[in-house]
Every structure is written in C-alpha cells, then in structure tokens.
C-alpha cells in the first residue's frame, strides 16, 4: 500500500517536472522548417573556390521562438536568482557601464509599468545567460530573420513599417511587449519594439583582421554587391547594427528573446 502511494507521489512529481518544462515553452511559437533569402550572402569558406552564388536561400530547421521579447519583469526574476548578473555584481568583462541603467536599482524597476516593457541595456553575455537559465538559447541570426521574413508575407509592408520604426526617436518610452503585431508564426514584436541580440550577431566577418580565405563580407565598396536586395535599406540597417555591436555593449533600445530547437 505504502509502495503504491510512493509510486503515485513519484508520478505526480514527474508530472509536475514535465509540466514545468512545458511552462518554458508556453509562450513560444513553433516555427516550421523552411528557408529564406538572407539580406547578405556570405562567401564560401572553402579556399580556392568561387564565392557562393547570390540569392542563395538558407535552410532553417524547425525551432521554437519566444512570442515576445523578454520583459524587465522577467529579467528581474532572473537576476533575483542569479546574483552575479545584478547591476552591482556584473563583471566588467560581461557588460559595459550602462548595464540595466534604466532600472532603479539592483532589484527595482523605475515604475511598475516597466515590468511589461522589453528589457534593454543588456549585454549579449547577460542575454545568453538568461536564455541558458531558462533552458533556451539566443536565436541565430538566420532563425531571427527567418521569423521576420514570415513566409514572404507582406514583404513591402514590413519594410515600410521597419523604416518608420527606425525613424522614431529613440528616447520615447518603449511600448509593452504585448502591444506589437503578431505574425503568421505567432511571433510578436520582431520589429517596432527594440532591436534584438542574436546568438551569432557578429558572424558577418567585416573586421579588419581577416587574411587569407575570402574575407569579403563588408558593407562598403565592391563587396556591398553581396547584398541580395540592395534596395532593402531596412535589412541593411539591421545587419549593420548587429555588426557594430560588441558582446559587452548595452544599448537602450536593444533587447532579446530566446529560442529552442
């Protein structure tokens, strides 16, 4: 009898554990496998071979993506449990001096409404640590761009909205994360809220330190011919923005969301 009860308790415990795991995925959208044409075509890495053809589409495996950017309230809960990521504790190597500068203190937001706004002023290291703590990862640039491409829906409308967002003054108050449009994948606020970190934000290789193998990926001069759609100024801005970042940077309109395989 006691054994039976024990088994029942165990089953209940297991169920609650798996329920917990599901909770992490609750606010995530499932994106099907597919492909998209990135704004910028990367060169082939194989030496002695011609660069990859332009207009190459990139395959993306099915994955899950947070429906919304991470909020201040969610990030606050994270730093409560992980004191090394609090504003006063963070190591200089992991974030610059403006880390969480818009908060009142280590564990205090300026006003309750900030809780629902996207967290910003977070470095790549802090964003990656948050995702890891939630058993997730930052989305790759391909995953993020694939989600934005939205199966080719409303491409021109998206471009227009992006440009009007880009021209909005940066000092306005950020809207709550749940105020954005939802796309066909069920993902919200990819544009119009904040810029977002990606796992490989710096993978375009435009640094001056390259030698040897085709080091073409640059935004100026002849190599800007690598852009698949030179008219897509909105995408150009996005790629240039990512490329200008260093992992310890914190920016007042740069946040993130997490992904899962």
């Amino acid at each position: 009898m006691r054994a039976v009860r024990l088994v029942a308790v165990l089953i209940a415990a297991l169920a609650s554990v798996s329920g917990g795991a599901e909770y992490h995925g609750a606010d995530m959208a499932a994106l099907p496998a597919g492909s998209y044409v990135p704004f910028y075509v990367r060169d082939s890495v194989k030496p002695g071979r011609p660069p990859a053809p332009a207009f190459r589409s990139v395959a993306v495996r099915a994955f899950r993506l947070d429906r919304f950017p991470v909020t201040n309230a969610q990030f606050l809960a994270f730093v409560r449990g992980h004191s090394e990521w609090r504003r006063s504790q963070i190591k200089a190597v992991f974030a610059d001096a403006h880390y969480l500068a818009h908060w009142q203190g280590d564990l205090a937001l300026r006003k309750p409404a900030d809780g629902e706004r996207p967290v910003t002023n977070v470095s790549w290291f802090a964003a990656a640590a948050y995702c890891r703590a939630n058993h997730k990862m930052l989305p790759t640039t391909d995953q993020w761009e694939y989600a934005l491409a939205n199966r080719g829906a409303d491409t021109d409308a998206i471009k227009r909205r992006i440009l009007s967002w880009y021209s909005t003054p940066a000092n306005r108050e950020l809207p709550p994360v749940r105020s954005g449009d939802v796309n066909r994948y069920g993902v919200s606020g990819l544009i119009g809220l904040v810029w977002e970190w990606t796992l490989d934000f710096n993978s375009m290789m435009s640094g001056p330190d390259l030698r040897g193998a085709q080091a073409g990926a640059q935004f100026c001069g002849g190599s800007s011919l690598g852009a698949t759609d030179p008219g897509d100024y909105a995408a150009f801005m996005r790629y240039a923005m990512r490329q200008s970042l260093k992992a310890s940077y914190t920016v007042s309109n740069l946040g993130f969301r997490c992904a899962m395989p």
Binding site: V93, F125, R132, M137, D209, R211, G212
Partner: protein
Amino acid sequence: MRHAMRLRVLCLALVFGACAVASAAAGPVTMPGMPSLPLRKTVPGMSVYNISSSWTTQAGRSIALSSLRGGPVVAAMVYTHCPDVCPLITERMQMIEQALPPHARDAVRFVLVSLDWARDSPSQLAKFAAQHRLDMNRWTLLHGDEMAVRELANVLGVDFYRNDSGNFQHSIAIFLLDRDGVVKMQQTDMMAPLAAMTARIVGLLREEKGRRQQGRPR
C-alpha cells in the same frame, strides 16, 4: 600494414600518455624553481577567467579556464581542419616560444582553444598537437561546447562565422594574458616583429618578480 598502423597508434598513445602524466603532475601553472605568489580570491573584472564554462584538454581532462591562472598565457582560437591560417597562427606561437629566453619560456603557458565544437574532440586536438610537435610541457589545447566557444570568442573579440559545411571564417589574433587572465596584448599581424610580444612577456614576468621580492600579495 594494419599492424604497422596499430603500432604507430600505440606509440602515439604512449607519447600522449606521458604528456598527460607530465601536465597532470604540473597541476596549476607554476614557474619552475620559483615560489608562486598567493593568488587573490577573485580575478579582476576584465579577466577572461571570469568565464565559468568547462573545457576539456587534449588529454581528456576537464578544466575551467581559471586553472590557467598564475602565469602569463599566450592564447589563440583556431580549429584543426583549418587549411592555412591556423597552422600559421600555431607556428607563430611556436616562434614566440622559441624566441623567449629559457627561464621565461618555462613560465609561459601556450593555449590553443578550438572554435570547432563539433569536430575538434580531445583526440583530434592531440593529433594536431603531435602533427605540429607542440611541447606539451608548455602547451594546452582546449575543446568546449558551442556556448563556451561563443562566450570566450566574444570576451576576446574573436569574430567567426561557421558555414554549413562546418568550416570557419574567423578573425586572427594571438592574445597575451597576464597571470590573472587580463588581456595585455593582442597581435593580429602575424608578420609583426616577435620581439614586441616576447618583450611584453618578459616584462610581465619581471613585474611578477618585483612583486614577489617585495612580498606584496596581489
């Protein structure tokens, strides 16, 4: 034929076994013949050793980067399937090793961290070390998972792009870390005079010696 191959593998295994024992015996980096200074409890905020990820050496030993604390480290991020640039970086580090005065040479750790989390297993790294005749009394090769690699690359400022076939484009740099893991120098020009790097290493060791003589903990 197969027998010869097996014999060669056995020889390699013996050589690496010896190295593993040697490096295990060395334990945390210490300067031969010198009493080591007590280390402060925490490392400076800008230290690479704030990274807490776990790595595996070419000998299969699991370590934290902070176990490299205690002496200067010359480090680079490479991958072993790299056709031309990484062997160049490795050779360049060996040239630095050879250009150092003997007492300094033995006080420095040379570390190659693999970018290739998928293919550079510890045994692959051991093979690379053998091919390049790295002196395993001074060299350590490290394998880490994707996030560990990305985190370290981002701390050092090594940009890389991994393509579909698993090859990398990456920025080229050799880093000099002080005993606490703070980057003191970064060389991106593989043709720069060796003396710039070796002089800095000797300078770091001299500072250490000065502190030791004054008995100042740090």
